[in-house]
Symmetry: C2
Subunit: 101 residues, 2 copies
DNA sequence: ACAGAAGTTCGATAAACGTCGTACAATGAG
DNA sequence: CTCATTGTACGACGTTTATCGAACTTCTGT
């Protein structure tokens, strides 16, 4: 069951922005960016149920923000930083930047 | 009826990203960025009705992306570029940048 | 005063969204 | 084999969203 990942050239800005416009998903992306080690879905401190997590990870994957690879029963998530930087230069950096005081 | 504009310090990233995640609104922002002259709502080539335009301009305004000032029967829209740059440095530039070939 | 132009307001509607719970499949440990 | 772990699939739910049309307000020109 190889989940669908869009190619870099197919990434759509509106779709990516929508994927990033949810607080839970924003937190996922922030944690992934903070520690570049791929991490299983359960390794995030989200205050929603498992099935909701599945939903959010799918939205991020189908938008092309993250990549998922199966490993045992876990699914390792990693940020598609290079692809995003190539297609939308500066976007991820701006989204991940701490808010100025 | 002075419409509500959020203060710069109150701009919320998720809200701004959501406001930018719609094709119509993205086009509005692009046109506003291309020509820094404030423009009336009707001056955009949108393929939706007037009342839908009202909706989109309100979403952008309440997210803090645009500023609206009344002038006669028109409402002039301008991008809050300085405020956005101050609060989310690089974000607007990344969103407005042409997609690399 | 009247007519036109520019937007808003107010339902309405159909679709998408975020969330949950339960049931299910697949893998790894004992 | 059995069982716990990890995540998915599916249906359900209430909310939000994007869209429209019709009626309305406000200003401007004549």
């Amino acid at each position: 069951m190889s989940a669908h990942h869009p190619a870099t050239a197919e990434l759509d800005l509106a779709t990516v922005l929508h994927a990033l416009s949810d607080p839970q998903r924003l937190q996922i992306v922030r944690e992934l960016a903070a520690d570049p080690e791929p991490r299983a879905c359960g390794g995030f401190d989200l205050k929603v149920t498992k099935s909701t997590c599945t939903h959010h990870f799918r939205v991020l994957r189908e938008a092309g923000v993250i990549e998922q690879q199966q490993l045992g029963t876990s699914r390792l998530n990693s940020l598609r930083r290079a692809d995003l930087d190539e297609r939308f230069p500066g976007l991820l950096d701006a989204v991940l930047a701490p808010v100025p005081a």
